[in-house]
Subunit: 208 residues, 2 copies
């Protein structure tokens, strides 16, 4: 059902830095796509805007029943995939805006390096358990991937970078993205790390 | 990590009759369990109680962004699995209380026949697109699976049957169930039809 041109289109991967399942997906999506000859374009978004403001929901971990489920699901996922994370589900969540700004600044000004940046931030936040909720902390974590922390900190404080992130978040919602991770493949949205086998089936069969 | 006794314990399958993904799961869960030597016990619940009252959420299809996603996800699932359903995502939802009462009455009084009843109700609602939102309609749909419609209609109108359903729904929430479908395997909850490959992996590996 797809043309050859559509089939080789990149997969879009949407995530928030505060999302454990976004982090888990970041460890798998490029390898999965590569098995099917696809590239992946990464997009950071903000659950605080899509979930809280647009959908009118509460933060997931504070929803009765669902919060407990998600804690167990995260713990189980870590065991299944052998991940050891310093950050725990109930640790205070950072304001992920500064990581989002850093990501979109790098994507706009150092294109091709945004995945290295995202991986460094995800690693610092989840594996090392560092709080990246300030411009200084986000920029310092980026230094591990070879970015100039002083320059990055200055850039992510700027209104221009704030506008870059805001426009990316709006763009993600226009596309229908509301959760992290979301994969867009051939115009189809797949939400949640649990959909990765479904995404793989889609790529194997060339759509259904 | 499980003892032999735990491994042979049945899988619990929780669903609401109004849930398309509950219906989809009902078509697969017994075969999946059988591949691993497991039985499945079915439990109907009411999303209207768990989602709306306890979790404080809106009906999923009316949540901005997520509602649109779910419509597309249902359409895609049907294509992938070759399902043809008369009922559409935007058709008015029935009050699934009467189906739930019928299910729990049969489970209590004709044990072993509750899956046949549930399959008949699911088929009438989703495949044939019939509304089962009254005692009469639910009982009439049960007749297709050999149940005595007149007797069943009388029984599901009774306060005793109402209490049966209420207590089953409370029990499901005590167990942490909030969505349809939910599978409970060896004390672990798995929510959503997308988790079936994960459930299968759990059963194959005997836990993680």
């Amino acid at each position: 059902m797809s043309t050859a041109a559509t089939k080789s289109a990149p997969i879009d991967f949407y995530f928030d830095f505060i999302s454990p399942f976004g982090y888990f997906a970041s460890l798998r999506i490029d390898a999965l796509a590569a098995r099917h000859g696809r590239e992946v374009e990464w997009h950071s978004m903000l659950l605080g805007v899509s979930v809280l403001k647009v959908m009118g929901s509460k933060p997931l971990l504070s929803v009765p029943l669902k919060g407990d489920y998600l804690r167990r699901d995260v713990a189980r996922y870590k065991r299944r995939h052998g991940l050891v994370l310093a950050r725990k589900s109930d640790d205070p969540m950072m304001d992920s805006r500064w990581c989002g700004r850093a990501f979109h600044w790098v994507k706009a000004h150092l294109p091709g390096r945004e995945k290295a940046l995202a991986r460094a931030l995800y690693h610092a936040y989840w594996v090392e358990g560092r709080d990246l909720g300030t411009p200084q902390a986000a920029a310092a974590a980026a230094a591990a991937a070879g970015f100039d922390a002083a320059l990055l900190e200055e850039e992510i404080r700027s209104d221009d970078t704030g506008r870059l992130l805001r426009s990316a978040v709006e763009e993600s919602m226009k596309r229908g993205v509301f959760g992290s991770p979301t994969f867009v493949v051939d115009g189809e949205l797949f939400w949640g790390v649990d959909t990765l086998p479904t995404v793989e089936d889609w790529l194997t069969r060339g759509g259904w």
